[in-house]
Amino acid sequence: MSAPRTSSTGSRAGGRTRAAASSAASNLPAVAAAAVVLFLAAAVAAPGWLAPADPLGIEPAAAFSAPGPGHLLGTDESGRDIYTRIVHGARSSLTIGVAATGVGLGLALLLGVPAGLTAGRRGRRVHPRWVDASISRVLEVLFALPGLLLALVFIAFAGPGVTTTVVAVGLSTAPGYARIIRTQVLRLRDAEMVQAARVLGRSRTRILLGHLLPNALGPVAVLATLGVGQAVVWASALSFLGLGAPPPAPEWGAMLSAGRTYLSVAWWMTVFPGLAIVAVAASATVLGRWMQRRAEGVSA
């Protein structure tokens, strides 16, 4: 119903101070995150340019070299340069993360959009209702296998490997995305903007493609950014557990797993690949939230 609204001058003061404080505190991390992303993009596009050495090149004499001038981040048990391997590993780690997020989002769109379009609300009946009912049920079941559980079950069936990792991580993230997309579509479907388009005589298809989906996908882009970081962490966890990329491929999780054996003699084998993962996940979070704040600022 239409309760009259008044513009309030009240919260303005508080909002302004908060905004000022948060912008000052958030610009520096955003810049750092952007730098990390640029470096990673270069590492993915042209790893040889950042690290010309061979990531698989064995140099037994230099095994377990500590970080120093020769080997910036040290070497592993076969004398392979850690820095080179991290740079070259970016491609596979990030590809897995991005691909897994893609799989997750793709599945989520397939589930979330129809569910959102058919969900009932405000006592109005929308058909066919069973679509949302059954999709919601499926999601409920998937939610009962939280975190890596679904991924592990999938690997138990399909066996370990890179492709399995991508699908498994994608599968684990899909229900969460699907629920958010459903809510988003549902919200937009009942939005005044869509009513206005109907009053102007637009067809359902045109409203779906011209207004609903483009507006629903904005927040999904934010989600995807936030999600890539988490997918990289999860994929590397699977590698670490020996269920992902097989050695000696320069994949960050696998490098960590190998380094763990030599933790007491060569800490750098563990610490640096891990820091790479942390940098990716943290940058994704910072960038995602920055995008989110911008989007909120725009819609406010």
């Binding site: 309760a3 009259p4 609204r5 008044t6 309030s8 101070t17 507006n215």
Partner: protein, 595 residues
Amino acid sequence: MTAPTPAPLVDVRGLTVSFGGGAPVVSGLDLSVAPGESVALVGESGSGKSVTARALLGLADGGRGGGRARVTADAFRIAGHDLRGRDGRVAAPAGLWRRIRGGDVALVLQDALTSLDPLRPVGREIDDALRLHTRLSPTGRAARVRELLAAVGLSGDGTDTGALRPGALSGGMRQRALIAAGLSGAPKLLIADEPTTALDATVAARILDLLADLRAPADGSPAAGMGQLLISHDLAVVSRVAEKVLVMRAGEVVESGPTAEVLADPQHEYTRMLLAAVPAGKPRGTRLCLPGATGTTAPPPPAARATPPAPAPTPATAAGAAADPALEAAGLVKMFTRRDEAGRAVAFRAVDDVSFSLAAGTTLGIVGESGSGKTTTARMALGLTDPDAGRVDLFGAPFAGDRGDGHPVAEAARRPRRPQLGAVYQDPLSSFDPRMSVGALLADAVSGGRTRRAGAHRRRIGELLDMVGLDAGASARHPRSLSGGQRQRVAIARALAPGPRVLICDEPVSALDVSVQAQILDLLDDLQRDLGLSYLFISHDLAVVRHVSDQLLVMRGGRVVESGETEQVFSDPQEQYTRDLLAASPALRAAAPGD
């Protein structure tokens, strides 16, 4: 005034507030409130009236910014405490502020929905000031909370209202609870910031009565009476309760004095403009904007320059000339389900047997409080919600609901006729696709959705913008960067783009300041005359509806309570509910001094 003038509760001179080194939001404000006196601070949004209220309690920055707000004054005495520092800044130790807040001075914030903690029982909120400002025992406090609830009229029918959380209370009850929370510290001064703004008229009237009652001193001595400072955007509300009024604009007081004097003989141009803008008591067709007065957002609508929309056929010029009514509804029914307390779905009639007829070229007003079913009726008339029974005809042909053979009109059959019917909503921004500029919105509407490039229809877009009093440059702007009034003009331009003959306006001015409201109402009036439009005009505001409507429909609980010629309904209401509504509707009382 009584013989021994008591020391004022508020004695502030030259109050100036600025944020983060910016331009002052309030500058040079003088204010004094005596015990038992009611003073009103009136202004539109952005006038600095709420900031003033907060600054009196040292909360200009919301209480957390810690120094970003700069508050200075030439004199600053609140309830006997001199809080002006040597450098002119208003400052006091945190402990003293806390004694004043809630103890000497209570602030009742606007919007009771968000000003009560949704997770706490309201009794606890009322108890807060008792805990902080009295030495009562917990049982004593509990008893006092019950007394306070009774005092604000919240202790009916045996339920313990204090144990309920705000979500379980209606808007009026929340506002009462909030006032009780303000009263619990036995303040000498009550500051109420827009206490009735979000409320339905009948509820608002009772809240104003409550505030007036509280001002009467308990023991009869004038000095013990509670002072009140009322912040409002609504001159009509103020005229009802306040003895003294200060009119604020852009941080400055432009006029002040006894309410009756200011209303009867306004000295400042801005006050005159505000008074003229109030639609209450202005006959249909009277312009609300003063000639030559500069609007705050846009020039007055250039009615003379307006060109009729190209595709629109010239409709009947006067009411009754056309054979068919522009829009006619018969026996509309809409069932909704809601959950009862046990969580079961219960069907109820949101709209129950509503019929009306809108003659071409005239305006039919629908007035009702929230939950009356007026918006659902509008949605059915627009063909957005299918009625469960009844039908809607547009120019004599079925448009929605039963098409004559028991089957509803299909959207596909309705779509080609949609250009004849447009809509304007309360919140224009949410009716726009957030990704589109003004030009894109209009191009989309002009082209029937075929393009969003403004360039393709530059001439027509220019015409539309001109018709609603915006210049062509607005085309490149984004609606977000426009003011509320400008946005509503864009919304009207978009509604006009397909060349409709009927417009359904659902609370089109409810979110606007009164001066902007006046501009939009004048604009709608001009457009109706120039283009021969018919309006279905929905509002909760009796004064607005009276000003714009030829015919009137009063709705309550989904049913039509009363209908007829607007002036007849107002001058001789047949139903009790209509009379209540009329009595509750605030009207300027300046004409009747001694009131």
